[in-house]
């Protein structure tokens, strides 16, 4: 992989996917930030991530307004981009068509080259050669309940992929509005993992599947522990998704999209719940909510975040992330183009970029 552009090791790189372009923010100290554009100017970028397992390859999900949807990769931090030789496409002449690519996730650390993508229509795609060739996971694509899966308004999208950090055969995916699914055999078979999560919009409130899951994350050391933000609640699982516990407690809403976790203090979890009708902050104070005890209670984090009668900020499902430093950095991008950050676990926040296009996703990586 060629490297034309380089950053110092230890630099924090935040990839910001927006409605009109992919932006890079970099900082050595998480105090001052440099904002750069990439060659994907004006493109509709749902998601981007950097894979450092073998070189530094950047992947982006470009869901074009006009000429199609493409996963692209770059080995020079976005200056030039490549299309896969065999990309994410359904067979020609069939009934299915690629709508949007929602997420791209590097696989296990010991499987350099393996990378996953989740798309609409809901399916999991796998590359074992760093994104050059892609193929669909047939176990999920041919799931016996597949013809009963219903979309959310964002489409029938597979938006979350968690490759178990401790077990290469285990993985979870999140599909709206199907719910959480898990494989324990490397993707051959998939089971639903939605017990005790609500689907208030269905006649059956606790179905086997049909939940509108929004995002979930895995505890980095207690790998059976998952945290989930759902359309209808915030949940925690202690048993790999076999069942879930409602941890909304004192949160002012059960509705929100993103969820993120402090890698060094993994009982610390961040959510941004919203007013369900407005899809923005519940009151006049834009707030990030933090639990430091695994969801037993939630704190409102507001220092440095805007407030007032005109403050109505929304954050999409991939619009919040954490870095892996200690103290944890948290990054929140709004659908009106503000990017807020904290370098002290959320105790105080700063606006590190403004006037961006609507932000779809943020991902943070500490460069090696």
């Amino acid at each position: 992989m060629s490297q034309q552009k380089a950053y110092s090791p230890g630099t924090v790189l935040v990839l910001v996917g927006t409605k009109r372009g992919l932006f890079l923010l970099t900082s050595r100290d998480r105090e001052t930030w440099e904002v750069e554009t990439t060659a994907l100017k004006g493109r509709r970028i749902f998601f981007a991530t950097l894979d450092q397992r073998e070189g530094q390859r950047l992947y982006a999900a470009e869901n074009g307004d006009f000429f199609g949807t493409f996963l692209r990769y770059s080995d020079d931090f976005g200056q030039t981009w490549h299309e896969p030789e065999v990309g994410i496409q359904f067979p020609e002449g069939g009934q299915q068509k690629l709508e949007n690519i929602w997420t791209i996730v590097p696989g296990h650390p010991n499987e350099a080259g393996t990378i996953y993508a989740g798309i609409d229509p809901a399916s999991l795609w796998v590359s074992t050669d760093s994104g050059v060739h892609w193929e669909i996971n047939p176990g999920l694509a041919n799931h016996p309940t597949r013809d009963r899966w219903e979309p959310g308004a964002g489409g029938l999208c597979l938006h979350t992929i968690v490759a178990d950090s401790s077990n290469a055969s285990r993985m979870w995916v999140g599909i709206s509005a199907v719910g959480c699914m898990r494989t324990d055999d490397g993707g051959q078979n998939w089971v639903f993992a939605n017990k005790n999560t609500r689907a208030d919009f269905l006649p059956e409130k606790y179905p086997e599947f049909g939940q509108c899951i929004h995002r979930f994350v895995q505890h980095p050391t207690k790998t059976d522990v998952l945290y989930q933000q759902n359309h209808c609640g915030i949940y925690k699982s202690m048993n790999a998704g076999d069942d879930w516990i409602d941890i909304q407690h004192n949160l002012p809403s059960d509705f929100g999209f993103p969820i993120a976790l402090d890698a060094h203090n993994p009982d610390t979890v961040y959510v941004i719940v919203e007013d369900q009708d407005g899809r923005n902050n519940v009151n006049e104070q834009f707030t990030v909510y933090r639990t430091v005890n695994g969801g037993e209670e939630w704190q409102s984090l507001t220092e440095g975040l805007p407030a007032g009668p005109g403050v109505r900020l929304g954050v999409l499902r991939h619009g919040m992330c954490t870095d892996t430093l200690d103290p944890c950095g948290v990054y929140v991008g709004t659908n009106t183009g503000q990017l807020f950050a904290t370098n002290n676990r959320g105790d105080s926040w700063r606006l590190i970029a403004d006037f961006l296009p609507p932000i779809y996703s943020v991902t943070a990586t500490v460069l090696v």
């Binding site: 000429f67 069939g94 959310g152 509005a177 269905l202 899809r279 499902r317 991939h318």
Partner: protein, 114 residues
């Protein structure tokens, strides 16, 4: 009889954003009896270009417009529109400004509840 001689050739004018994928050509002479054959021929010469224009199902992408001698093929016979020798085919993107967010936003709206 040379079968190639019976296939009409047309001049295809590409939009700026697709030219890099087609050898940086602004226009290309392509042989084909229908618009679909023209697209097939383009894809043969420049693999992957068809996917920019059509879904895997074969249907034309909604915001791609193809004009055959200034007529939008959607108002002719679509991709099966016959192509005459010497025709000029423009491939353009739609003027899609003002498109409702519901068509493009990746948020998770309330469709299930409506």
């Amino acid at each position: 009889m040379d079968s190639q001689a019976t296939i009409p050739s047309a001049t295809v004018i590409l939009p700026y954003v697709l030219r890099a994928k087609a050898g940086n050509h602004k226009s290309i002479m392509v042989a084909g009896s229908t618009i679909r054959e023209i697209i097939d021929a383009l894809d043969h010469d420049f693999p992957g270009l068809q996917f920019n224009l059509c879904y895997e199902t074969g249907e034309l992408r909604p915001f791609v417009n193809i004009f055959l001698d200034r007529e939008n093929i959607r108002y002719l016979q679509g991709l099966e529109t016959p192509v005459q020798m010497g025709a000029t085919i423009h491939i353009l993107q739609s003027v899609a400004g003002g498109c409702p967010d519901t068509l493009t936003a990746p948020a998770e709206p309330l469709r299930r509840k409506l």
